[in-house]
Amino acid sequence: MANATLTPRRSQLTKGRMPSYTLWVVLAASIVVGAALAALVGFSLVPFALFSAILFIIAGTAVTGVVEGSRKARNRLAMFLIYGSFLVALLPLLSVIWTVLERGVPGLTYNFLFTSMNGVTGAIDNQVVAEGTPVLGGAYHAIVGTLQITLWATLISVPIGLLAAVYLVEYSTGGRLARAITFFVDVMTGIPSIVAGLFAAALFGQLFGPGTRTGFVAAVALSVLMIPVVVRSTEEMLKIVPNELREAAYALGVRKWRTITRVVIPTAISGIASGVTLAIARVIGETAPILVTAGFASSINWNVFGDWMSTLPTFIYYQILTPTSPTATDPSTQRAWAAALVLIIMVMLLNLAARLIARLFAPKTSR
């Protein structure tokens, strides 16, 4: 009897469960076998990782199934796949960021940020390549254009989108108009960006004569793309606000519009801010609508209501597609990746700002 208590025995609670190191052993075995299999087809990193991962998922699930039963095996398989999907999702995204950093940082100079392409010709690029001097010309005009056009698009879209979402969630009683708005907002999310651009170009062409191309036309085109995103995300967030909060406000005699502006929207503000951020992120990088509405400029233009404008996406597109010098494309490629880096940094700063606003205004919840 005394012996039985002294010998370490598996507890009744952990019986039928794998020791915690089992999966590590399976992982190590999978990596070894995966390396062997990869060696058969000529060793390289991609097949090695692929084979090892597949082997680990199969073997890990099988071992769990034998020791712990089929329910646990299914649970383990789901866990592997969910962890795996996250790792797989990270790969292209890290690759994009790495590529942009690697190729963009060398071109990101003071000169690039604060000069435009005004006067930079193919001959200058050829000379730069031949003599190995620093690349001339920059994206200042495109940065100005991006900020101006996106700002105007946001100023147009956010009030309209927010109010429409408020109408849908708070005021409508599910009538024909509300159903029509919900339905057509869904349709608008599918509008191809280039069609939105064509629409804005035609609208201003009708109003101010054909060929009207200004930053404001581009802003209207971007609004067409942005409004449905704002409405959809705001609507989802307003719907999630518990009815009890609204009822509590009404019970205190608070007016409906005060309830909405003081109770409903503050409760949902973090979600709304993240939705608006996604909307801005979607439109700030749009290329096609800018091409047909704002044209392309190589000099600085601060006025959204007059003359052609360039934005960072169109700048990138043209620098890649039609290099300034067809024979020496390196300066153009460098400018394109540097512009891509600037664009991504801009978007990240916007995200950060929205995140901070959301955090400052977020209500305390149980989560």
Partner: protein
């Protein structure tokens, strides 16, 4: 006195109510008007195509012979993107909401949000300069070993600028959208449902299939729909990545074209009838997205009782 004070207060609040509800109603109507004018403009500008002589249309065989291959191309590209991105996106969202350590979850969500912001033209440049050369090796292997399947028929493209590459780039682009929207919904699952499932002895996966996924289904569908909207209408990434051409079944040869890329690549030089043709192609794309949305809305309306609100 007190009744007067109440009336006055009521009067002031009432006008606020009226202004606010009127403004929100006007915003809703403005959206309808905007969409209506987009549709009207597309139809008016596209009309010349349908009255034109078939021999004058690109390809010389009438509009429908011209549009059919690029419609199929658009559908293939979007289908590849969604087939890859939807399961992956749900997996990533579940990882962030229910699997990752709570401490990191918010940070990981933030990373995914940032990645939604990478502009399409950057994804296009990346697909063209980085992904396509890598995939060309895999396509070569596929063509040699699985060439008997029509979609992997050789000879594989040497540049890797094929439909499958375009589809993969589109999948990468829509993944953050599907992930961030699904994640928001997963996090809204009633805690009590989850705890009830776990208390009954359910494994974590059983808890997810019983409590989280039924609650989130309409949210997942609307997330996938937004992703599909972007995949169908995506212009620049496909224009940069895909080396377009005639319709082919093989996804690893160059060829195929999508409507949006066709418009983008040809619009700058287009005038007259060609312009009308491209706008008509845009109209077709518009109609396709309309059909997709009708189906998706029908699915969502069947599951309305699960949506968290009201």
């Amino acid at each position: 006195m007190s009744t007067n004070a109440l009336k006055r207060a009521g009067g002031a609040g009432q006008s606020g109510d009226k202004i606010f509800s009127g403004a929100s109603l006007a915003a809703g109507c403005l959206i309808l008007a905007a969409l209506f004018s987009v549709a009207v403009f597309l139809i008016i500008e596209a009309l010349p195509v349908f009255g034109a002589d078939p021999s004058e249309i690109t390809g010389g065989d009438g509009f429908f012979t011209y549009i059919f291959p690029i419609v199929i191309g658009t559908v293939i590209a979007a289908a590849i993107a969604l087939l890859i991105a939807t399961p992956l996106g749900i997996g990533v969202a579940l990882f962030i909401s229910h699997y990752a350590p709570r401490r990191f979850a918010q940070g990981l969500g933030y990373v995914i949000d940032l990645l939604a912001a990478i502009p399409s033209v950057v994804y296009g440049a990346w697909g063209y300069a980085v992904l396509a050369p890598q995939l060309a090796i895999a396509y070569d292997w596929l063509a040699r070993n699985l060439g008997w399947i029509p979609i992997f028929e050789g000879p594989a493209s040497q540049t890797g600028r094929t439909m499958l590459t375009a589809g993969i780039v589109l999948a990468v682009m829509v993944l953050p959208i599907i992930t961030s929207l699904s994640r928001e919904i997963f996090l809204q699952t009633p805690k009590l449902h989850e705890e009830a499932a776990l208390a009954m002895g359910a494994t974590r996966w059983e808890m997810i299939t019983m409590a989280v996924l039924p609650f989130a289904r309409p949210g997942i569908i609307s997330a996938a729909m937004l992703g599909l909207g972007r995949a169908l209408g995506e212009t620049m990434a496909v224009a940069l990545v895909l080396s377009g051409g005639a319709l082919t079944a093989s996804l690893i040869q160059s060829g195929n074209q999508t409507i949006a890329a066709e418009i983008a690549l040809n619009f700058p030089e287009a005038y007259g009838l060609r312009l009308a043709e491209l706008i008509a192609a845009g109209l077709v794309l518009f109609v396709i997205t309309l059909a997709v949305n009708i189906v998706a809305r029908w699915i969502i309306s069947r599951h309305k009782e699960f949506s968290g609100a009201n």
